[in-house]
Symmetry: C2
Subunit: 357 residues, 2 copies
Amino acid sequence: MAMAEFAIGVDLGGTNLRIAAVDDSGRLLEKITTGTQVALGRDHVIVEMCDAILRLAAKFQTTSHLTGIGIGVPGIIDMATGMLRESPNLPGWNDYPVRDEIERRLNARVILENDANSAAMGEKWLGAARDATDMCMLTLGTGVGGGIVLNDRIWHGMTGMAGELGHITVDPHGPPCPCGNVGCVERFASATGIMRMAREAIQSGDAQQLQHTASSDPEFSAKMVYNLAVQGDRPAQEIFRRVGEALGIVLADLVNALNLPMYVIGGGVASAWDAFAPAMFTELRRRSMVYAATAPEPPSGAQSQGAASQVEPGSRMRTIITRALLGSDAGLYGAARLPMLPEEVAARNAPAERLRA
Amino acid sequence: MAMAEFAIGVDLGGTNLRIAAVDDSGRLLEKITTGTQVALGRDHVIVEMCDAILRLAAKFQTTSHLTGIGIGVPGIIDMATGMLRESPNLPGWNDYPVRDEIERRLNARVILENDANSAAMGEKWLGAARDATDMCMLTLGTGVGGGIVLNDRIWHGMTGMAGELGHITVDPHGPPCPCGNVGCVERFASATGIMRMAREAIQSGDAQQLQHTASSDPEFSAKMVYNLAVQGDRPAQEIFRRVGEALGIVLADLVNALNLPMYVIGGGVASAWDAFAPAMFTELRRRSMVYAATAPEPPSGAQSQGAASQVEPGSRMRTIITRALLGSDAGLYGAARLPMLPEEVAARNAPAERLRA
């Protein structure tokens, strides 16, 4: 009889390190969450991560076979070498053979993947895009990440850098972005973008409630801006309208270019869906005739924001824009999924020139 | 001995109807060019087209086997039904079974394809993207068309509407587009966009040369604006700077999203490459860190616009932005290519839901 299979997924964030053992049916066997002690340096984090992986592996290897380990990291990965090329949240990790070092310590197959690509794969495996062969996910967190899945596989592009959707331009004269561009969607549709717009609104002098909240609470956050919007505060509502507008523009670009059946919005900021979705759907419909031709029929009497979630069963050829379902676990599940997929493993063992084939 | 194979490609434009017999090595056997008498109605055009196809077929069928007929049309095609969904340049063709009607008249396999997708396939087969498995083409004509080729096949998306790159937003508050959006790249980087900007410059009163040319020549055209730019006229140069800026934004979006190895710029407006390319490369490099990380090394002392065309041999992992090579024949060759590709034929015979697989 074949032994059961499991894999270990790692979500290595700038703040949290989460490690999970997941079986090949998607069942969570065990999850470990710790803070990422980035300040203690790369080697410390790697030792801590490998220790936790080895503990989980030892526990389940008595009854199951370990397929491999998938690690989602915030940054651009060179798939051929298994190194990080750009990773602002993991200082000191660039140009270091992360994958090879971890493989050496664990003596197991390790797959390194961008965290937003991992999240897309997680939602495709077990979440909102479960039935989609082709999908795209936007992860709205501190920044905006993106992942594109085509023909059931992560679309990596020529050098593994595809899916940098957070840096699509939505306003050519907009605010500067650390990436070097101005007006990236990330400047609007991330927690950082919301805080930037909140500060601007406060400085304008027309946002008393925001100003009051900001000055009375030292932990003023995007969540508080959202709470004010829900309570009816106009300046806070205007901020989320701009979040929706930016998302609508980038979704329209993606629908026009790729005509995928499903676009999933995840990450912490996606919790503010009801505040930004109306503007998002308005912009999307206006800016993409492809969307207008394929949008789900709104249920009679429903408002536009209801269109995405209320699709009649059996409707196949509609463009669905919907919320992620796995919350902060999407990247963890997606990372665990990767070593289970022979084509994803093969892509990473091939010479870089052939990754695209 | 196997009989030689040939196919017939058709480029059905709003102005010209061109029909070519092409063998499977890409050799042009014969080409017929006539005006498209759109005003005489759909049925007239179809009869004329079918007559020409039959003449070519009869001529070469004595020595070769006719694989099929590919027809590139300006508009959005429903691949499952072989009907046009949107086609402003072919009034009266919507919701008419174009493919089935032509197949019935010719008693041969007919493949209907969007003209920009056909052009992308032509450049991939015999033109600038000959060695690329993955590529994207922007066709700058009266409007801006787009085609994306992934894993050697046209990326059609869910309903065959992918590649509508001309309607990607480059300025969220820009001029209105007939598609319903505002600030589409087509409003800037097409002949229509150039004429619009020229009229604006003339109305501003600061463009004497443009005004003089426009009032003295009843056939004032985008080509004349280009000629003025080449002669050093600043308002005309500024128009092409804006063409380049818009193209740079949309290319940055596409490089960030897809990280393809090659982007080809074709269509009549591409002849103005030297006038718009410097601004295009400047914007692209600034707006896409993926491009900045993968741009070809400029030859020492060369200016930025030289970067695309001067790639050292053997360099594989660079993002190439380059001019199309086949001129106005790209779509004709691409249309002829389609019936030669078993996967493209199969995609069109499969149920619509499975086109994506």
